[in-house]
């Protein structure tokens, strides 16, 4: 296998391995959420894909233009592997979220911010931690940023930091039984992290 190649690639075994890794992490996360919130989280099969930067632009742009959509992103890094978790709330009702999180306050702009922060802390944290434990990587997490609400998505896209064309994305679609909560968690790794991740994965595959 060529290690020098900078192009991101993924073979079938590796893809399965990422999927399994995420499944286990999700299982742990769901179990914890169930205990904390007393809800049943429907566990889907995570999608592992190499995505184009334009796909991501579109996803983020949707979050900006569609007022019914909110997004939170949070950077993580450990052992030279860096990435960002992006949580996109599609058609989520804030009042359902409030009920889920036992939030009693008013659902104004600040109330919604509180909910987004609390839910994303839980979902992103649980998942990154689960993956980190299996790979024996300690990930540090930066502070979350709520897109659209306190920063313009245009500004992020303009930053010119998107020099990658293709990268690894793990996509998890969360739904919670009986409530109107529907969100996607995207784990995006930087292009240069993928080779290191693949190395870690290859150990597991051997």
């Amino acid at each position: 296998m060529s290690v020098t190649s900078t192009a991101v690639s993924l073979n079938e075994d590796q893809r399965d391995c990422y999927q399994e890794l995420t499944n286990v992490a999700m299982g742990q996360a769901a179990d914890r959420l169930a205990r904390l919130l007393d809800v049943y989280v429907v566990l889907p099969i995570p999608k592992v894909n190499l995505i184009e930067s334009s796909d991501l632009h579109m996803a983020i742009q949707d979050a900006e233009t569609d007022s019914a959509m909110s997004a939170v992103c949070q950077g993580f890094i450990g052992s030279g592997i860096a990435g960002e978790a992006l949580l996109l709330f599609n058609d989520t009702s804030f009042s359902d979220l409030a009920a889920l999180m036992n939030y009693g306050g008013e659902l104004d702009r600040y109330g919604e911010l509180e909910l987004l922060m609390d839910v994303s802390s839980l979902l992103i944290g649980a998942c990154i931690q689960g993956i980190g434990e299996q790979l024996e990587i300690h990930f540090n997490q930066g502070h979350p940023v709520v897109l659209g609400q306190h920063c313009k998505v245009d500004d992020i896209l303009k930053s010119g930091n998107h020099q990658w064309t293709k990268t690894l994305a793990i996509e998890i679609h969360y739904t919670i039984e009986h409530v109107n909560i529907d969100c996607d968690l995207l784990l995006l790794f930087t292009e240069d992290s993928v080779a290191k991740l693949n190395n870690k994965i290859n150990y597991l595959l051997d």
Binding site: R32, L33, R35, L36, Q74, M101, N102, Y103, Y110, L113, E114, M117, D118, S121, L122, G125, A126, Q129, E136, H138, Q141, H143, P144, V145, V146, Q149, H150
Partner: protein, 322 residues
């Protein structure tokens, strides 16, 4: 997991680092009693570690809402995950003074916090660590940018000389009104008006005198307006008004009031007395207009007609005549 073969002597300087690092570190036990209080916390709160240790967080700092904080902290104990708070949610956890008390513009220290689980030897989480970051500069500059944006928006919306709306802002408004008219039965009317022989005024009395006339006319217009009327300086000596929920007859009354106001007005500049008149064109919204542009053109045609037929008068657009 991390290696923990740290020599005893090393602990000494590790403690030194914890003590001197410029972020706040607080360790809490399951009952939210303080177990560790580093130098940053001591300096900013004025409370020594000896005093803080063993005290309950919420009793010592009543600015921290217990329910709110526990919502962030309980998952850390129960799920062993980190949670975060940012200054946009709540400017600070601990009410500390700005680190730059003299030149800093905020009076308090804005804070982001991370709450991390601390595992004990049996792997259960009986303690959490709250890490406090000073983000005052970020918060202040974010607020600066926001207020600059707002100022820019307002500047864009008003004409500097007359303090009426700017043309761009007004045009957006009639685009909206045009769309509304397509669905509504209530009439709306545009009035365009132009000061007669303004070039002569500029030529005879100077541009400053011309500006003074524009300012006085604008002030007079402002006093004539109803709450829902929207007037802009369309360009040069041309003004335009959108009269919502107003038919032609009412618009004529409005236009005539303005025409007479200008006619009667005396502008004093450099001990000279300047008089001006205006011509006005009126166009009510018609179903036949394809765009707001058509509507504007109709008002412009009526204005042109008023000019052609002798000035200092009001003309109403007649769709059948064209």
């Amino acid at each position: 997991m991390t290696d923990s073969n740290i020599e005893f002597g090393d602990i000494h300087w590790l403690m030194d680092i914890l003590q001197n690092i410029d972020v706040g570190l607080v360790v809490l036990d399951r009952q939210y009693n303080i177990q560790l209080w580093n130098g940053f916390m001591e300096s900013h709160s004025g409370l020594s570690p000896q005093k803080a240790k063993g005290e309950n967080l919420f009793e010592l700092f009543n600015e921290i809402p217990k329910d709110w904080f526990m919502k962030k902290a309980e998952p850390v104990y129960q799920l062993k995950t980190r949670t975060f708070t940012i200054w946009e949610q709540r400017p600070y956890l601990f009410r500390f003074k700005n680190y730059r008390p003299i030149t800093g513009r905020a009076s308090v220290m804005y804070q982001n916090t991370s709450i991390i689980p601390l595992e004990s030897i049996n792997r259960s989480v009986d303690h959490i660590c709250v890490i406090i970051y000073d983000v005052t500069d970020i918060a202040v500059s974010r607020e600066d940018v926001q207020s600059a944006h707002q100022t820019l928006n307002e500047l864009n919306r008003t004409d500097q000389l007359t303090e009426l709306s700017s043309r761009g802002y007004w045009l957006k408004d009639i685009e909206r009104e045009f769309l509304r008219c397509q669905r509504s039965v209530l009439p709306s009317t545009l009035v365009m008006f132009d000061l007669d022989d303004f070039r002569t005024i500029n030529g005879r009395y100077g541009h400053q005198a011309g500006d003074e006339v524009l300012r006085s006319v604008s002030e007079g217009i402002r006093q004539t307006l109803r709450q829902t009327d929207h007037v802009c300086r369309f360009g040069g000596e041309v003004f335009a008004a959108l009269l919502v929920d107003t038919d032609e007859e009412e618009a004529v009354v409005f236009a005539e009031r303005i025409r007479k106001m200008i006619e009667r007005m005396e502008v004093r500049h450099d001990q000279q007395s300047i008089h001006a008149t205006a011509s006005l064109g009126i166009a009510r919204y018609q179903k036949g207009f394809a765009s707001a542009q058509d509507w504007l053109q109709a008002a412009d045609k009526a204005l042109y007609h008023a000019k052609e037929s002798g000035r200092n008068k009001t003309t109403v657009y007649q769709p059948k005549a064209h």
